[in-house]
Structures are given as C-alpha cells and as structure tokens.
C-alpha cells in the first residue's frame, strides 16, 4: 500500500529565508513523486515531479526536491522565500503506471514580510 505523510501542517518563514517542506512516503513499488501547489481559491498546479531519473528535481519558481530512497523522503526546498510562495503544498505518490495517486494532507506555507 502507498501513503504519504507531510510532517508539518503549517510552516512559517520570513521573506528571503529558506523554505523546507517535509514529505515521507511509503510505497511497495518504485514510486513516482510529485509536489503540487494550491494558492488560495485556485486550482492545483504541478511544481515538480520525480519519475526515476535524477534524484534532485528542479521545478518551477525556484523550488527543488530531492528523492532519498534510503530515507523514503521527498522534501521540497527553496533557497529564498517570496511572498507569492504563500500557499498550500501537497506531496503526492503514484504507482508506476499512474493508475492511482495518493495525496498528503498538505502543508500551508506562510511567508512573513
């Protein structure tokens, strides 16, 4: 069975400081992993994805995530937060054939001026 745990429901950072959003997964297969972002009252947007190529994945808006199989983690990072990064972020794991997708419970990122 597959599952995703986002370790923090809320993260607050100051503008210009690093962002770390944590995600751990469990999977019986070689997983594909994704991060989606949802701004207030908006739809979900794909930030980045890992599908068994390079373990360090670069996404949009300066975000990155590193797949660490030994730690079953896929944490999302950004060197310097911007006010526009304030949103909810979802970590997602999928079976290899993309027949099912499992979402984490989400992390709300607050960026203080």
């Amino acid at each position: 069975a597959q599952s995703v745990t986002q370790l923090d429901s809320h993260v607050s950072v100051s503008e210009g400081t690093p962002v770390l959003l944590r995600c751990n997964y469990s999977s019986s297969y070689s997983p594909s992993l994704f991060w989606y972002v949802q701004h207030p009252n908006k739809g979900l947007q794909l930030l980045l994805k890992y599908t068994s190529a390079a373990t360090l994945v670069k996404g949009i808006n300066g975000f990155e995530a590193e797949f660490k199989k030994s730690e079953t983690s896929f944490h999302l990072t950004k060197p310097s937060a911007h006010m526009s990064d304030a949103a909810e972020y979802f970590c997602v794991v999928s079976e290899a054939n993309f027949n099912k997708f499992y979402f984490g419970s989400g992390t709300k990122l607050n960026v203080k001026p």
Binding site: F34, Y36, L44, K49, F98, K100, F103, G104
Partner: protein
C-alpha cells in the same frame, strides 16, 4: 490544452437529496478520478475509472457511487446527501503522455444543509 470540465461550481442541497456531479474530459483518456478535498486532510480518492463501465473504489467510497457510460464523462453520485459530504469535489485525469501529471477540473463546492 487539456480540458477537464465540471458541470457545477457551487451547489447547495438538503440532507437526503440525490446529487449528481459530472465531469467531462477532452483527452480521450481511459483513467478518470474523483477526489474530495477537505482542510487538513488533503485530497482523498473516492472512486476512479479506468475505462467505460469500469470503476474501482478509492479510499473513501462510502456514500458515493459513480457512472461511466461514455469515455469522456465520469459522474459522481451521492444517493442521499448528508452534511458530512459538504466538501470540494475535484475531478482529475492523468497526462496522456504518461508524465504522471494530473489535470484537474475547477472543482464543485457542495454544501449540504
């Protein structure tokens, strides 16, 4: 551009009413998903369909049924709506190119009084 269209953006229903939520896609994709999104719980899979007349239960199917009579249309049915089904409902299809990206409809916000 991929188009996933949900027929109703906002609905208000009374307890016990039958509710139909419809999703139409233009990608000729076999797979279609229904999720519900609730604060602090992320997105939870209700049902998915992998072809016409084929369906499989997700993680929270109780109180819901689905219908897929045509490939482009996937309907979610609440036989007897209850207040705990007040939620945002999202339809999604995976990318045809098998990148794993999910494309979402705009969502149907259902309130059950």
């Amino acid at each position: 551009d991929v188009k996933v269209t949900q027929s109703s953006r906002y609905l208000v229903k009374r307890t016990g009413e039958k509710v139909f939520l419809e999703c139409v896609q233009d990608m000729d994709h076999e797979n279609m998903f229904w999720y519900r999104q609730d604060p602090g719980l992320g997105l939870r899979l209700i049902y998915f369909s992998y072809d016409v007349k084929m369906k499989e239960k997700g993680d929270i199917p109780e109180g819901y049924s689905v219908s897929r009579e045509k490939k482009e249309r996937f309907s979610l049915i609440l036989e007897s709506a209850s207040t705990n089904q007040t939620s945002m409902y999202l339809c999604a299809i995976p990318d045809r190119g098998r990148t794993g990206e999910l494309f979402f409809g705009e969502g149907s916000r259902l309130t059950v009084l």
